[in-house]
Symmetry: C2
Subunit: 446 residues, 2 copies
């Protein structure tokens, strides 16, 4: 039997937006996919608890019910695509699929960030592959690039715009000058943000993706819940204006590198809004797009840009993973061509995070203070007393009589502990009308 007569069977668990995208991609690109794979990639079966809603796609010839167990057991299913999300049912079903000898493709970053090693060990023992390109950067093939394209490099650093919702909100706040709450509401109305936006807005989603990137880049298992995150709720329209005046844009970044010190095995990893140079590649990533900057010791800076979420982009990555696994099925080469996290599982080890107090860098500080003579010199004096040098000071306001004025300070590079201490001291003053905003400057590594 030639490959042309053969097929690779897919079973899809979870028929939401991305699932519908998978049906669409397999349909509209069936010819080119068959040509590349040398066989048909056939969606055999779909399981979802909701079998009623019309997804508006053609399901002819596809068995669709709510029975995920039967889907996994179906001998026509070679690859199980898990698109339920979360770490509950998805975790059990992925384990079941692996135990049944099925390959798995998933877009589930929460599952991999929290239980990746467990799942990869199960897969290795069962002789199946688990592919997860869609879990980071949506449609951008950034995991492939990191794992295989940069296989000859020692990774020096990763910086990414890893969450489309927050990048959309920041882009809109900058473009319109409107407040965070207004833009968030609009994003929710447009379906770009969830009713409960915490997962995106506070950096949890980005931290999970960063955890996967860190495991792949540095062979480091992190406790992703302990990755420090700072959300963007405290940013105000004035910050975008001030940032631009200082030569920066504000972006929500996931940042990771190995600790610099000799013999220091720890990892620096964090998610927060940061000021980055205007004119840098990351600074021009707008709207819901994502981008990841990976610096290797040989290759230097490389950047991967594209849609970080959405029906068709995410489905593109899911189906590409299925094609890759399909190739191995067809040639009978067995699983495990490339270790899922770039190194063999036994080479991964748990590594501590560098506490943010040990960071060192420039910062953007916005003080909201009463409009009185001498307050600016008092602020700068307090920074000086903590050995914090000042690069620029900008002042605005008050917006109305009796209102506070905004004093923005761009500091020279300083220990973060000193910066935090100075800000904490200043925040105790009676002249201070609101908690001071602290945003790190991320130096350009492009």
């Amino acid at each position: 039997m030639s490959n042309r007569d053969r097929e690779v069977g897919i079973g899809l668990i979870g028929f939401g937006t991305i699932g519908r995208g998978v049906v669409r991609v397999l349909g509209q690109n069936a010819a080119v996919i068959s040509e590349r794979l040398g066989a048909r990639l056939r969606l055999v079966r779909i399981a979802d608890l909701d079998t009623e809603t019309d997804r508006g796609v053609d399901l002819e010839g596809i068995h669709f019910d709510s029975d995920a167990k039967a889907l996994i057991a179906d001998p026509a299913v070679d690859i199980v695509v898990e698109l339920i999300g979360g770490t509950g049912a998805a975790r059990a079903l992925v384990a079941d699929a692996i135990a049944a000898g099925k390959h798995v493709v998933t877009a589930n970053k929460a599952l991999l960030a929290h239980h990746g090693s467990e799942i990869f060990a199960q897969a290795a023992a069962a002789g199946v592959d688990v592919a997860f390109e869609a879990s980071v950067g949506g449609g951008i093939p950034v995991l492939r690039a990191l794992r295989e394209g940069l296989a000859a490099d020692r990774v020096l650093s990763i910086e990414g715009i890893l969450n489309g919702t927050t990048n959309y909100i920041l882009s809109e706040m900058e473009a319109t000058g409107e407040a965070f709450e207004v833009i968030l509401k609009r994003a929710q109305d447009l379906g770009y943000a969830e009713a409960d936006p915490t997962f995106d807005i506070d950096g949890i989603d980005a931290a999970q993706k960063l955890g996967i990137l860190v495991a792949m880049a540095f062979g480091a298992e992190l406790d992703v819940d302990s990755i420090p995150t700072q959300g963007l709720r405290d940013l105000a329209p004035i910050d975008f204006e001030m940032a631009r005046e200082l030569g920066f844009r504000v972006k929500m970044l996931g940042i990771a590198r190995e600790a610099a010190g000799e013999g220091d095995d720890r990892i620096e990893a964090r998610v927060h809004p940061a000021l980055i140079s205007l004119g840098s590649q990351l600074a021009s990533v707008d709207g819901a797009m994502n981008a990841v900057l990976i610096v290797g010791d040989a290759v230097g800076p490389t950047l991967y840009y594209g849609a970080g979420a959405g029906e068709m982009p995410t489905a593109s990555a899911v189906v590409a993973d299925a094609i890759e696994i399909g190739r191995e099925i067809l040639r009978g080469a067995g699983a495990g061509r490339v270790p899922p996290l770039s190194r063999p599982l036994e080479a991964l080890h748990s590594r501590e995070l560098v506490p943010t107090d040990e960071l060192h860098g420039r910062a953007y500080l916005r003080f909201e203070v009463t409009d009185e003579p001498g307050v600016l010199s008092k602020v700068t004096g307090a920074l000086g007393a903590n050995d914090i040098g000042i690069e620029s000071v900008l002042q605005r306001g008050p917006a109305s009589a009796g209102g506070s004025i905004s004093v923005v300070v761009l500091t020279h590079a300083a220990p973060e502990a000193a910066l935090r201490k100075a800000v904490a001291e200043i925040d105790e003053w009676p002249e201070v009308r609101a908690r001071t905003l602290f945003v790190r400057i991320q130096e350009n590594r492009e």
Copy 2:
């Protein structure tokens, strides 16, 4: 014998700059490469006609002489890395290596653009792999992204800054306001441009890379020598200034897409300077960096950015290819995991190019005319008579008494044939002091 005790042997033919980079990468990253591959990637042997020059790298344990044939025949060599370049000796040696059952890694875009199908057919027949990530975009893993990451997509378009030398010259012309010849001379002094710069400056190098991308994206074999190219010799400092005033930057692009018409099997492919929107990702690619924007029907726009040339970035891609082949050697899976051009060779076919006269789009025209009343209205009148709408007109000069004035016209979208005809007519006028500059506008597809 476990993988840990095993090794994969590399033989390097051509010990120039990139060859030295390969030695360095294999040395400095030996530990991480062994960990990822599960075996040692050992440089067994080097062949180069020049065995005298000290390359400043440690060659202990590596057999180094001028005998490429003996290198190919050496049973310890599993993978032959061809870094000679060109289509003469390299072509014969690659054929010899394949015939001897050796896998090949090459950075040679000229060889692949002109003789790719022949080489891939030889490799398929001999059961070996030919890998060539370094041939396009230097260290950027863009071929992997296109071939595997976007395997589920129909590619809609490719636009790339594919040549670092020309991007460096354009960036410098814009930054300094100096003339092309001055910047070229400086680039040559710095080693960024060859003594004979034709290959880069006139777009030949970019056309070869574009040919490889087109073959992979569209399954199309092109006669790369017939890809229309326009070099950057006619650009002047004023063009960068005018472009910026109109909201654009000038970039040398390789552009390709399938012809739009129903049943039209042809390919649009060309290399030329183009005006692209300020603020687009490609517009912020500076200096010697490269970037490729690939739009897929499912994934949408994706972009890959990094160093397009240079010792260590190119070596990074070469060694990553060797690691990928090494994995297949170690698992005994045989060659041909992925077709080198994404589709099986028999699915590739020769396709015609769309002549540039059939293009349709906006253009930037710079007329150099005598400083006389009425000349501007005469120019715009001639464009109107050819049904060419005008979006903006800018005028500068004269720089000195009796000098010419520069009239810059940004047209509305128009058939290129009409634009060329109008320009040819105008260029006959006695008021015209130099050939009119014609630069296409590339609309933003990000």
